[in-house]
């Protein structure tokens, strides 16, 4: 039986939801988070028609729709194809180690316009996207495979948490290239990625990536789903064997390159920033929880078209960036955004707090995004200006899978369900001190089973303790090591 369905099979699928009365979600891959206002508008129209007017920007620069009915899928796929996007393959429902695909390839949302970037990696990401999208050779990996590439000095993509990341560096000779990090994951068996120890020229990235994904496909464990992610192969092989096999596959040696630092993650691109292009700015708009209604999507698209050049980006912090705004339009755009409910102001937490969609996948005992929004609003009300320049990252995950990356947050929370007084009661375990960069570390569990409604008070206590006691602008991680926060809250 071959028919019109077949043309979509390798590029489009639906994922399974088990919460909020949603049966299926649609995760639209947007490479590097780059899209036009027209594409954004048309996705908004899809949300309006098929997803109860609701959409989410994910922390991997996708747009996710829920309440998708399977009987509408072909119509939706067809429209998405016209818009120019594909979806995750979503083979995670399969009980064995099969049908994994390369997920949306993420990058710095201000690639190409950031004044401080070492290199614009977005072209490389578009090339990689072409290599893997719908390519049958890479649709039966042991598990999903996550890639990032970025030239951003903020290290905003959090490269240590992906299977494979390329981080731009300036070689001692002055050349700009990349170091590769391999085997990161923040799921149930977390492991920060490790350096491959080589310098990779920009024109080598595609070949190196293809080689690594082939290695994973051919040698990754298929016996046990829990041990099938790439990190386990890196553990089993070690860096040296992996490097040698990559070199063998690409047919040349890569330059050994020892890096004694990594650009420290300083968070998200926030607010209005001048671009490298004289006379233009970008505006990073905080989207709390990444949640957008279809109506708001259309309004944002209109503002982008009217006052910018129609280019937009999605960030790995679930925010939205309007780029290429002539400087003399910036105030107008800010005013319009405020009028439609997206003020570009408030604490940095509005940009850096992320939460997963655990209420839809059914693994969370409550709505992590709503809890995140409530927490930030409470903190702003209580701590006001004190928060203004506090560059902290707060992440709420609905389950140990850690989709919101709570283990690399300054303050991370993971929901659990307890039975208290005979009633199911949503609670959170609280972790602190997760960080990326030179002192990469996973967060430490400091408090177990805090009732969900108490979370905001616990976070307030942590932040107040941090502000009161810190002697310098050290990270939350350093601070926790020095002051043992579990004894202070």
């Amino acid at each position: 039986m071959t028919d019109d369905v077949e043309k979509f099979v390798d590029r489009y699928s639906l994922g399974r939801d088990k919460g909020e009365d949603s049966k299926h979600f649609l995760r639209i891959k947007i490479a590097n988070g780059m899209l036009t206002a027209e594409q954004f508008r048309r996705i908004g129209q899809l949300a309006e028609r098929y997803s109860r007017g609701y959409s989410e920007i994910t922390d991997r620069q996708d747009i996710q729709l829920h309440w998708i009915e399977a009987e509408n899928a072909l119509e939706i796929f067809s429209k998405l194809e016209e818009i120019g996007f594909t979806t995750d393959k979503c083979g995670q429902g399969y009980p064995g180690a099969r049908y994994g695909d390369v997920r949306n390839i993420v990058g710095c949302p201000v690639a190409g316009v950031d004044k401080f970037e070492l290199i614009d990696a977005s072209q490389i990401i578009q090339q990689l996207d072409k290599v893997f999208t719908g390519n049958k050779n890479f649709l039966d990996l042991p598990r999903k495979f996550k890639i990032s590439a970025s030239g951003c000095q903020l290290n905003c993509t959090s490269p240590e948490v992906y299977d494979l990341s390329f981080v731009a560096v300036r070689h001692s000779s002055g050349k700009i290239g990349f170091v590769a990090l391999v085997g990161g994951t923040v799921g149930v068996a977390p492991q920060l990625a490790r350096l491959l120890g080589v310098f990779i020229k920009p024109d080598e990235v595609v070949d190196v990536t293809r080689a690594i994904v082939e290695i994973y496909r051919d040698y990754g464990s298929r016996e046990n789903k829990a041990k099938a992610r790439f990190r386990w192969l890196v553990d089993a092989w070690g860096i040296e064997k992996l490097k040698e096999t990559v070199e063998e596959k690409i047919g040349k040696s890569l330059e050994t390159y020892k890096l004694d630092y990594l650009p420290t993650c300083r968070g998200e691109h926030v607010g209005v920033q001048p671009q490298k292009q004289e006379g233009y700015s970008y505006i990073s708009v905080p989207i709390m929880g990444g949640i957008l209604s279809s109506g708001k999507m259309l309004e944002i698209a209109d503002v982008t078209d009217k006052y910018g050049n129609g280019d937009m980006r999605l960030s790995t912090f679930q925010n939205l960036v309007i780029v290429n705004i002539p400087d003399n339009n910036v105030n107008l755009v800010l005013k319009k955004l405020e009028q439609i409910g997206f003020p570009v102001k408030g604490s940095v937490l509005r940009w850096t707090t992320i939460a997963c969609a655990g209420n839809f996948c059914g693994k969370a005992p409550e709505h992590p995004k709503k809890r995140a929004i409530e927490t930030v609003e409470y903190l702003e009300e209580r701590l006001g200006e004190t928060l203004k320049n506090l560059n902290l990252r707060i992440c709420l995950s609905g389950c140990p899978n850690g989709c919101a990356r709570h283990l690399i947050a300054d303050i991370g929370m993971q929901a659990i369900q307890l039975t208290i007084d005979g009633k199911p009661t949503p609670c959170y375990n609280i972790y602190v001190g997760g960080c990326l960069g030179s002192n990469s570390a996973l967060g430490k569990l400091i408090k177990r089973a805090v009732r969900a409604e108490q979370v905001k008070y616990e976070v307030e206590n942590l932040i107040v303790t941090y502000i009161k006691n810190k002697t310098s602008l050290g990270s939350f991680h350093d601070f926790n090591n020095q002051h043992s926060l579990e004894n202070k809250t």
């Binding site: 039986m1 399977a70 899928a73 083979g91 429902g93 009980p95 064995g96």
Partner: protein, 83 residues
């Protein structure tokens, strides 16, 4: 990759949708059922667990009777439907 509808014996057909994720097993099942005559049986072989829930729902919507959903190996299921 393609879903094959095969006549196995009188009044019995098998549809192999292994390797397909949602929503394709449902699509192919719905299309196969349209080709069958009343009273004929369809056995769907699949390896996408969510489809074990969605195919029976879709089949019932088409007025068919779901006879059985059974696990036939660690990662494979068979759904038997009577039109």
């Amino acid at each position: 990759m393609s879903a094959n509808l095969v006549k196995t014996k009188e009044d019995n057909y098998t549809l192999d949708v292994r390797g397909y994720t949602c929503p394709y097993p449902e699509f192919y099942t719905a299309r196969a059922l349209k080709q069958l005559s009343l009273g004929e049986n369809l056995e769907v072989i699949l390896d996408n667990p969510p489809s074990c829930e969605t195919i029976p729902i879709a089949a019932k919507k088409q007025g068919c009777q779901v006879i059985e959903v059974s696990k036939i190996s660690d990662a494979q299921w068979r759904i038997t439907i009577k039109k």
